[in-house]
Amino acid sequence: MNRKEIQIPNFLKKAFSGRNAVISIPYIWLLLLFLLPFIFVLKISLAEPILAIPPYTSFFKWGESWLPTIQGSLDSYLFLFSDSLYINAYLSSLKIAVISTVLTLIIGYAIAYSVAKAPTRWRGILLMLVILPFWTSFLIRVYAWIGILKTEGLLNLALISIGIIDKPLTIMNTDLAVYIGIVYSYLPFMILPLYANLEKMDMSLLEAAADLGCRPLKTFWTVTIPLSLPGILAGCFLVFIPVMGEFVIPDLLGGTNTLMIGKVLWTEFFYNRDWPVASAVAIILLALLVVPIMLYQRAQEKAIS
């Protein structure tokens, strides 16, 4: 039988090709569940809080006319800038994130460098020891520090029994506890990219430097560090960006004076039920982090290709 084939336009054929269908599965998922939600955050940040369910005014008002009128207000943003609490929280988060990134880098570099230099037969097990805490619950690891740092905790008990101090130190509920918690929790995120980079390093370059009379410390600063820069950058982004919005650590280890924007957002949302202000806090935090996130993405793409 001679049936005339139905002609499918070329652009439709292309759009529904197997290749595009495969791409579209994860693509559409991420568009709908990762990107689209931000539109709602933006929308609600422009609404006003009211006592209702959901607790914000609607963005579109359906009136007589065919098109809805848009009713948005910048009140939430103006409020953020008028109250010094929010600006201080952003600045304080920035300070805590920068300092803890530097601390994590120094400690992480020492560990990653030593693992990379360790005899080959040890490296596997050492790397496993780094990865294990990375997989272990964040919450549990932060919780573990409460018992150590609190006034009648294990650290004070140990220090008093040795005789180093006679009155317990107040570490719990201070910024110091937050720094300890952040460095501890994020250390594996720093060590892994650093190690991946240091392990691949061409040792002959270091030998060349030594042969030409370069002292070990100078070789480290002028050869090793510049060569490991991609690892340093990846590690710093992996620590800095999430720490900017960290909630669990300042909430459990920090005190009432520890201001971090992630905690402010949580309080606005869950305790004050001010969804528009919580959304505005999120939008500004996102705006601050967009550039670091894009730099991180570029660095990662480069590293993999």
């Binding site: 197997g18 290749r19 791409i23 599965i25 994860p26 693509y27 991420l30 569940l33 990762f34 990107l35 689209l36 955050v41 609600i44 400690i107 020492a110 560990i111 460098y113 030593s114 230099k117 360790a118 005899p119 780094v130 294990l132 805490p133 997989w135 619950s137 919450l139 549990i140 573990a144 409460i146 018992g147 150590i148 609190k150 009648e152 905790g153 294990l154 501890y184 250390l187 030594a210 070990p216 070789t219 992996l238 960006i241 919005g245 960290e246 909630f247 669990v248 459990l252 992630g262 957002l265 949580w266 959304s279 999120a282 996102l286 996130i293 894009m294 991180y296 993405q297 993999i304 290709s305």
Partner: protein, 262 residues
């Protein structure tokens, strides 16, 4: 370069002590007879017995396991596709946005992801519960799987696929019969990673959950806020033990696979 020296030994000993002492103390004090978590009162497993009788924790654990199992399975499927798309599909339209959506969730503060996904569910009047937590977990876990697959594919020998295609294999069959078996260890470790990420998540689950869907981290968090108790140590010890077992299993699978290919 100087050989592995005293400084390196010092760095490793101090570094690993810092990483492990808190966890070891936590485990140790879960077997403490005394209710005081800082005073040793003798060995006892009574907190584990007490844990088994705590219905709230058991319910939360069940919710968590269900969410983790479903979300890691779906995330592994989606993430594997995403990882292959990133490495084997060249330059398609919208690639930069796609890779942005893969990398951003891995570093983006959890409060932002949690808030945004919750606001969307509310705006679309989707009832929050186990289902919404699962959707949220799939979304961020699949990005980790995609990166695991992507880095595996960077050392993948393309000529095997070309051979299969030359011999008349369809792209789908090439994937199923050639690519998938080769990258299976990466897929398995992606699944395990997703599972632990889901098991671990407090912040995003707190936003995405509704009444009656408390996950284990949410339960632990509410207990921690009331103070340190040996019961929390006991439940933590069980979780740490499970994760350790999983990681060791994954590394054994990986090693076996390596030996087979050599």
């Amino acid at each position: 370069m100087k050989k592995f020296g005293n400084f390196n030994i010092f760095a490793l000993v101090v570094g690993f002590s810092f990483l492990y002492i808190p966890i070891i103390l936590l485990i140790l004090f879960s077997f403490n007879e005394s209710r005081l978590v800082t005073v040793w009162g003798g060995f006892s497993t009574k907190w584990y017995v007490e844990l088994m009788q705590n219905q709230g924790i058991k319910d939360a654990a069940w919710v968590t396991i269900k969410v983790a199992f479903i979300s890691s399975t779906v995330a592994t499927a989606l993430g594997t596709i995403a990882g292959l798309v990133m490495t084997r599909f060249g330059n398609f339209r919208g690639r930069t946005l796609f890779s942005g959506m893969i990398y951003a969730p891995m570093v983006m503060p959890e409060v932002i992801i949690g808030l945004s996904i919750l606001l969307m569910f509310v705006a679309l009047s989707i009832n929050r519960g186990v289902f919404t937590i699962t959707l949220a977990h799939i979304t961020f876990s699949m990005c980790y799987v995609a990166v695991v697959i992507q880095s595996r594919m960077s050392s993948y020998d393309d000529s095997i696929n070309e051979a299969a295609l030359d011999l008349g294999c369809t792209p789908f069959h090439t994937f199923r019969l050639i690519t998938l078996p080769i990258i299976m260890p990466a897929v398995v470790s992606g699944w395990l990673l997703s599972f632990t990420l889901s098991l671990d998540d407090l912040v995003i689950a707190s936003f995405a959950s509704g009444p009656g869907s408390t996950t284990l981290p949410m339960k632990i968090y509410s207990m921690v806020r009331l103070g340190v108790t040996p019961e929390i140590n006991a439940v933590s010890t069980i979780l740490v033990g499970l994760v350790t077992l999983g990681v060791i299993t994954a590394s054994i699978i990986g090693r076996k696979q390596k030996q087979q290919t050599i």
